[in-house]
């Protein structure tokens, strides 16, 4: 299953399908963005990052898309697996910032 458009707090996906998780950011000066995965009882785990001079970056089974015009970030997970079940957060960093600002998370549940 896919979810496009506005940010949704939960996403239920059939195993093997592709997932799309969305994030809207607020700071037009943000120049660096990261997606994190957080499993229950653990700290955030880095998935993939992208700088503001790019609009797409691919990793292993994941792709991040950045649309600066509408300040939107998305994470695509190909062939979603049960181990992908977690909360996913986007984070942004502004120019000259030494901090990350996290968005509200999306809980992804993978159905077998």
């Amino acid at each position: 299953g896919e979810s496009v458009g506005l940010h949704l707090p939960t996403l239920s996906v059939q195993e093997g399908d592709n997932s799309i998780i969305n994030c809207a950011y607020s700071n037009s000066a943000s120049d660096y963005f990261i997606w994190y995965k957080q499993e229950s009882g653990k700290g955030p785990q880095f998935i993939i990052d992208i700088r503001s001079n790019m609009d797409k970056r691919q990793g292993q089974r994941v792709t991040v898309l950045l649309n600066k015009t509408v300040k939107h970030l998305s994470l695509q997970i190909a062939a979603t697996q049960p181990g992908d079940s977690a909360v996913y957060f986007c984070a942004e960093k502004g120019t000259d910032d030494y901090k990350l600002s996290f968005g509200a998370g999306t809980t992804v549940t993978v159905r077998a």
Binding site: D31, Y32, I34, Y36, G41, K42, G43, P44, Q45, F46, D49, R51, F89, A91, K93, D97, Y98, K99, L100, S101, F102, G103, A104, G105
Partner: protein, 115 residues
């Protein structure tokens, strides 16, 4: 694989007491951070630390909070007089380079419960 460690995993304290949360960042990392996450909410930045001084802090990080790197391996967060609203998961993170040049590694967190 190197990892950030945090102790204790769970700390229960009474309101008004001082707590120290401990972190051991990855050994060759130079940038250190504390974040917190109130149950069910998003992760919030508290403070960043580089070259033995605070680089940036949020409005949450008031005079009740302090950080220290007492030796070459530990990075601590102290809350002088805890309040009920300080109850949260506290995550330490470290990176070998600045935020947009190095991946930030998070520890497993310390759950602080203030009663």
């Amino acid at each position: 694989e190197p990892e950030v460690t945090q102790t204790p995993s769970h700390q229960v304290t009474q309101m008004g007491q001082e707590v120290i949360l401990r972190c051991v960042p990855i050994s060759n990392h130079l940038y250190f951070y504390w974040y917190r996450q109130i149950l069910g909410q998003k992760v919030e930045f508290l403070v960043s630390f580089y070259n033995n001084e605070i680089s940036e802090k949020s409005e949450i990080f008031d005079d009740q909070f302090s950080v220290e790197r007492p030796d070459g391996s530990n990075f601590t967060l102290k809350i002088r007089s805890t309040k009920l609203e300080d109850s949260a998961m506290y995550f330490c993170a470290s990176s070998d380079e600045g935020l947009d040049r190095g991946e930030q590694y998070f520890g497993p967190g310390t759950r602080l419960t203030v009663t």
